[in-house]
């Protein structure tokens, strides 16, 4: 990936110290953690790499700043999962990531379940950065 683009995105979302105190490093900057929820292993791999390239840790056992939530999953779909997470009091940014649904009602239901943002697949780094801007506003 163009290192200039990556560096700009990282500064944009605050994972690189802009003040110069930390010498422009990641150590003095915001640490963001994320969880990718997707039943497709190809998407999991790609989304995890996008996050990793932006300096964001994809972890399992932690309180997450960001959850990327797929819509169509076999056991529990994204709408139900989002609703359940909000009922449990989870305050992470939850971004729905799904292929274009033909049913606008379904997308509305997904948002109403408790999403902070929705992006159509395929996810790209600019779309991910746009989601992460919401995180900075919420903080």
């Amino acid at each position: 990936m163009s290192s200039t683009n990556t560096e700009n995105w990282m500064k944009d979302i605050g994972v690189v110290d802009l003040t110069g105190v930390g010498g422009g490093s990641t150590s003095a900057a915001t640490k963001i953690t994320a969880l990718v929820v997707d039943d497709d292993s190809v998407n999991q791999t790609i989304h995890s790499k996008m996050l990793e390239n932006l300096g964001i840790q994809n972890q399992v056992e932690t309180i997450f700043d960001l959850i990327l939530m797929d819509m169509d999953m076999p056991v529990m779909n994204g709408i139900e999962a989002t609703r359940k997470l909000r009922e449990m009091g989870v305050r992470s940014i939850i971004a729905g990531v799904s292929t274009c649904t033909r049913d606008e009602r379904e997308q509305k239901e997904f948002m109403e379940a408790g999403l902070d943002d929705f992006q159509e697949k395929p996810l790209t780094t600019p779309k991910l950065v746009s989601i992460l801007h919401k995180l900075n506003k919420k903080c």
């Binding site: 683009n5 190809v42 390239n53 780094t125």
Partner: protein, 154 residues
């Protein structure tokens, strides 16, 4: 073949994949995610895609072979294939899946079987093309050269 010639051949071949619509800009996104910490990222993701998609195609074929076809199940498989093919930039596979989903909605078995053939054809094509692409890249690296950073300038 001399290194410069190999690199030229790779560039032309890559260009043809985009011009023919076999790949789209999402493949470029994938290449741009690759870095020194994970130099085989694209090959790994593409291999994973073909592993999963072959299983999905078999599942779809099996589902269409049932006496009473469960079109919802077929549609769910096609939807998943559409998603993952879009994520790796396999544009023609993705488009074939879009058409396939329409047949599922119409609950037309014959139509679905034709769509499955089309998806399999596009899947086979992109698999062969990507194998060639990776082989060309390997030849360049083996000859001591580097594969230029991905960009779409055409």
């Amino acid at each position: 073949m001399e290194l410069g010639q190999m690199q030229g051949r790779l560039a032309e071949f890559t260009k043809s994949l985009y011009m023919e619509g076999i790949l789209d800009a999402q493949f470029l996104q994938l290449q741009q995610l690759q870095d020194e910490s994970n130099p085989d990222f694209v090959v790994e993701v593409v291999s994973l895609f073909f592993e999963d998609s072959e299983k999905l195609l078999n599942d779809i074929a099996r589902a269409l072979d049932q006496q009473s076809v469960d079109f919802k199940r077929v549609d769910a498989h096609v939807h998943q294939l559409k998603g993952s093919s879009a994520s790796v930039g396999a544009q023609r596979v993705k488009n074939a899946c879009v058409a396939f989903r329409n047949c599922c909605e119409e609950q037309n078995v014959e139509g679905c079987l034709r769509c499955l053939q089309q998806v399999k054809q596009e899947h086979y094509l992109v698999k062969n093309k990507l194998e060639t692409l990776f082989r060309l890249e390997q030849q360049i690296v083996a000859a001591g050269g580097s594969v230029p950073m991905a960009e779409m300038t055409f």
